[in-house]
Subunit: 229 residues, 2 copies
DNA sequence: CGTGGCCTTGATAAAGTTCAAGAGCCGTGG
DNA sequence: CCACGGCTCTTGAACTTTATCAAGGCCACG
């Protein structure tokens, strides 16, 4: 697909005036990253942000002991690294390609000039940042107020709404990465999935496909109204 | 102070064109809240946001079991409730006055119209949201990757930088609220403060004043390079 | 068919929470 | 001015949840 056509499909760039698409196309360039390549590291100084066009990118924080917390996993059409553009400082977290990936890069200063010109673009960006804040709010809630089974239940329900057909869903990430999204470690995740299966809440094909067998109980679990035995 | 003069001191409204201050003043009105009053609740539909002018407001999430996680505590000059303005939906968390408080309320639609007219205002707002995202990023990091002593150490260091003179600092919140900021409970906080005191890292007057006696060790603790015994 | 990555399972340990009791402090009202 | 009641904070002991360490299984890919 032509890069300009692609830009028009990105939700961040919806409803702009026609001429601004040309301006956007004029300032960008594409960057490719092999699987496992580091796109940027926390504390790197930032001179722009990215939109994924192909592949998958994880945004994460890591501790000295090697544990990591994934903040987001982004796919095609989703912008990342934009916080640093508006704080004027360094990236608050690191980004790594978890599959061979392609991105469009938007240089900071040129992009800010465009934002000044088109109020729709700035409102779109405000909306993107607000949605991110909302997601972080609920990640904080999960980490602080829920136990791991509750977080997992909430995650499964969330995926089943966004990517699943009725009660079937398939994860497109490894269990290790899922653990890191949920703020735990693979061993713990494994045990809890086993418990959920034994208690008849879910079923799995051993691959990455799951079947929700008892949605109500999952909901109770996610809300803290129920415990696994 | 005149409300228009006050607006000009708020960082969100820096560097606007003169006439826009008049427009702002035209759409706002003030709202007062007694201590412990709920300003808004999660899931309330939002028709605007607030800027504190007096007092203190906490933004928090709470669990069915009654535990709560404080996301922010805001004082004069700081905006809150603005996420919902740009997502068009409900508030992602609740707000409560923790002291008698006064606020200015900015109605959503009128404010959005102003943002469309003044790019400086929208860039300021983008910067506010980005800074919030950055803080959330580090709260998530703390909750997921650090233990409570590390979070407490980081918090004390943070306060000593922002509000303290050299090694003395005073908290202006209760221990219960501090526990809720750190994602733990008062009992645990109490034990850890006792340990820190016993090990000579800090000292306290039993009120809300603390003395940092061994800053290097606190830093090590915050970075996970050291443990309490 | 062997090797490495990913996942599972078990035993053990650590960190934090819960429950319960009591100490210190403060404002109110007698 | 003192006593009371209600807070907040502290401390102890038991318990729960999760992490750590270690071993072994499974599977895909060369």
């Amino acid at each position: 697909m032509d890069i300009k056509d692609f830009i028009e499909t990105i939700s961040l760039f919806q409803n702009l005036e026609k001429k601004n698409y040309d301006d956007l196309a004029a300032i960008i360039h594409s960057k490719k990253f092999k699987k496992n390549a580091i796109i940027f590291s926390e504390y790197d100084s930032a001179d722009g942000f990215y939109v994924a066009t192909l592949g998958r990118v994880k945004i994460f924080k890591s501790s000295p002991e090697g544990k990591e917390q994934i903040l987001h996993i982004f796919g095609p059409g989703e912008p990342f690294g934009e916080i640093a553009v508006f704080t004027g400082k360094s990236f608050p977290a690191s980004a790594q390609a978890i599959a061979d990936s392609e991105t469009i890069f938007f240089p900071k200063n040129e992009f800010i000039n465009l934002i000044k010109k088109d109020p729709t673009l700035s409102l779109n960006m405000l909306s993107v940042l607000s949605l991110r804040l909302k997601r972080f709010t609920s990640l904080i809630e999960d980490l602080s107020l829920k136990e791991v089974p509750g977080r997992l239940a909430a995650y499964l329900l969330y995926i089943s709404e966004s990517k699943g057909s009725k009660d079937e869903l398939s994860l497109d990430i490894s269990k290790g990465q899922l653990a890191s999204i949920l703020g735990t470690i693979p061993e713990t995740l494994s045990r809890i999935l086993a418990k959920m299966t034994k208690e008849g809440l879910i079923d799995s094909d051993g691959k990455r496909n799951y079947l929700i067998k008892d949605r109500d109980s999952l909901i109770d679990l996610a809300e803290g109204e129920r415990k696994l035995v």
